[in-house]
Symmetry: C2
Subunit: 230 residues, 2 copies
């Protein structure tokens, strides 16, 4: 890259880091668990969140922000869960950054939420650099994309907390080699948790729900200590 | 985007356009047909080129350049066809630009080639803006990604000359709706040719080979007129 664009990019990233830190404080103070989802286009982020929101509906207060270059399709799909959903259209920008999230939240109180999901635009490269202040970053990878993806997009796998392998119901049809994927993830991110799911059949979602429940518990603000004077 | 990054980006795009125009002239003078392939990660660009190179082997002189953030995996796969292949590792840059192509060609004479393939890194956003001087840009989309992709990534579909629908052998397993895809492509790019293929079964490759053969014919330099003085 040209030295000048490198310099400008550094400043933009620094600016994002500051905005993300402010958001992270705000999320922590509100006691809301914020989960972001990144993947290639078509890995099944929206389907994964549709199933997730549907399963959480009766027990948790959820909401979602959805980033896309164009269209309101994904927000419309997620709204069917009954959760409030806001679409962020990014135009030609290939990722959501902290400022877009801040604008979309628009001063909204967050303390009435247990969990906020942020669906990033389909891209395995750029979202790695622009964290939106989330507590848990999930990278999705569908079995149809090939087992080599962690090696080819190491930065996004390194920046995520958990890998979710989607469309596991198609594993046999595409000759998916799960052991090879695990080896490749282990090479770029040793010890990363890997969760195979099918949003169609809900296979794997009980583990996912247990993980989210733990994270929601962790996000609860500490109870204010009660001092009893003797 | 910040005004300053918009300005720098404009300059970088302009610089790329100039480099791409110079490359295009060089390709035209050499009479080589240059085809670039763009898609999401895991849509099957490498598999598509593996089958393409294998089928062209006996009749044409081919070569390929392959862009990825990391690894030499794709170049190794394509080299099995016997064609000369060079990997371009882009680090954190999410697309191939004209200067990277120029550097990778490294002053190589191109007149001994019929067709040069350029496989871009997996990304449906950024490569739309950085043409590498190709004559034919192919956007790949696998049936597993969903029929909505043209609406959600209109710029890349608008910048491409043909859409190739890959993994068509999985269409039934994923409940792929071909008519819906065609409608969506028609909305963003009316009249765009759409070619369904399976790199595994070679379904659709006879049409693809016929198209490439025509393009190679078109790329041939005009024969030098012979003047016979009477």
């Amino acid at each position: 890259m040209l030295p000048r664009i490198v310099e400008v990019r550094k400043n933009v990233l620094k600016k994002n880091d500051l905005a993300a830190a402010a958001l992270r404080d705000r999320f922590r103070a509100a006691g809301v668990c914020v989960v972001s989802v990144v993947s290639s286009p078509g890995s099944g982020k929206t389907a994964f969140l549709e199933t997730t929101l549907a399963l959480m509906r009766s027990r948790y207060r959820t909401a979602a922000l959805v980033g896309d270059l164009a269209t309101e399709c994904d927000a419309e799909r997620l709204r069917r869960s009954g959760a409030p959903v806001r679409q962020i259209t990014t135009g030609t920008v290939c990722h959501l950054d902290a400022e877009m999230i801040e604008r979309a939240l628009d001063g909204r109180a967050l303390a009435d939420l247990d969990c906020l999901f942020i669906e990033n635009g389909g891209n395995l490269v750029c979202p790695a650099s622009y964290g939106p202040g989330e507590q848990l970053r999930v990278v999705l990878l569908s079995v149809t994309e090939g087992e080599d993806k962690p090696l080819k997009y190491p930065t996004i796998f390194n920046s995520a907390d958990i890998a979710v392998v989607t469309k596991i119901d198609l594993a046999e049809a595409v000759g998916f080699d799960h052991a090879a994927l695990l080896r490749n993830i282990e090479r770029v991110r040793p010890g990363m948790p890997v969760l195979p799911v099918s949003s169609r059949t809900t296979y794997g979602f009980s583990s996912w729900m247990a993980l989210i429940a733990r994270r929601i518990g962790d996000a609860q603000p500490e109870p204010t200590p009660v001092h009893i004077d003797g």
